[in-house]
Symmetry: C2
Subunit: 246 residues, 2 copies
């Protein structure tokens, strides 16, 4: 038997973070998440320390702007990978069901089996339609199966939400003329730097807030938002902060 988060002593000081990790390990065991996904999650955990595992005010602002952009979009799509599905399946399902915004499974390490399992997992959490099963299009100039997208979904979308994303793909989506809203804990990642709006936050906190703000239609001036400046403020905050409490 391999070790799991279940083995963690009850008195461990990082119980909340370990609960999240446990969801991911379950996702791994059911074949939604890859080994790479586990490692990527660990990287996210470290960056989450740096912002004290809270949704900082710069990220609340970014989430408001993102929700406004989603409201203004004609054909927005939420791109979902294994980690996102494992961590926030219910929010993703409610989001698409209640708003009609398409959800599409897109994987860095695409296998048809994994796509099928992720769609099944989301449907078990209530999702109606989930795209990604039969991608007929490719993101131009992007190698590997991560380029495979559906025409109805990501290919024709004007705005794509990309939680926990690979940097290359964000760049290509921007080159296609789309707006990209990313959720990424590393403010210096290529995804963070390339996105139209970067939400530097844990997906388990950011996604429910994005859904909530979307429904509230917040009164925020998109044109005033400067992603680069917002990221710089986040970096400055992290540098002033103590980091890594455990």
């Amino acid at each position: 038997m391999k070790g799991t988060a279940m083995d963690i002593p009850d008195d461990h000081p990082r119980a909340r973070s370990l609960e999240i990790r446990e969801k991911l390990e379950e996702g791994y065991k059911s074949g939604l998440v890859t080994e790479m996904g586990l490692i990527a999650h660990g990287r996210g955990e470290a960056f989450d320390y740096l912002i004290d595992e809270k949704t900082i005010k710069e990220s609340v602002y970014a989430i408001k702007v993102a929700s406004k952009i989603l409201n203004d979009s004609q054909n927005p799509v939420i791109s979902v990978n294994g980690n996102t599905a494992a961590l926030v399946p219910k929010v993703i399902s409610d989001f698409t069901n209640e708003t009609g915004i398409n959800v599409e499974v897109n994987l860095f390490h695409r296998t048809e089996d994994r796509v099928r399992k992720i769609i099944k997992f989301l449907k078990e959490h209530g999702a109606g339609k989930v795209l990604g099963r039969n991608p007929g299009k490719r993101i131009p100039d992007l190698s590997h199966k991560r380029a495979l997208v559906t025409k109805e979904g990501i290919y024709e979308a004007d705005t794509v939400v990309v939680p926990l994303e690979d940097g290359d793909r964000t760049e290509k989506l921007i080159e296609m003329g789309k707006k990209v809203i990313s959720i990424d804990l590393n403010p210096r990642s290529r995804t963070a730097q390339e996105s139209s709006v970067t939400i530097v936050d844990n997906v388990v906190r950011a996604m429910p807030k994005l859904f909530e703000f979307y429904k509230e239609e917040p009164d925020v001036d998109i044109d005033e938002f400067d992603n680069e400046k917002n990221l710089e403020q986040i970096e400055a905050k992290i540098r002033r902060n103590k980091f890594g409490k455990d």
Copy 2:
């Protein structure tokens, strides 16, 4: 087939980091490394960004002090877990063979199968004697099987090298009156804060340097070394630095 680092495009900007990750994934596939170990590695990757993936001068100093302490110890032991074995099997093997310093497998998520596999893996890389197979002692006041140690090795050691360690265990080893030399990329971790000497560096860079300095017997004054101060300088450096280049 689950995704592996082998799927990574050649032109990926983080090739070196991905090579290291690949070793860990191989270790995972051969049963040396747990899912928790993969996540922990990811966390380490993020902290490694923060020091530009280099052995900073504060860590060179800590490695020199550590090697001097090892030289002065009567019964030093290197504690090895799955991640360490997967990442630096050859250095660990050469270290114990050439110096006679004991190596002992000690696992947070101990299973006898995994202990056996790790010992076998180290022996395949040339290691002679590796302890840990039949632990007859416990580290006092520490729950779970991670407390299991051999009398000859960690239990009676005056100095223990703990790469990639759990915070609780370091604390208990110190309470037992031992010197603890840790290798930990997070300068704020409990392990880092509790250790006698903390080497804030990637184990793939730090372990070969520790071996090299040990053989050179560097002329360094142990009494001048202040671990807390060294860690503060590292933190200050990280805060001044840009972080996360990818």
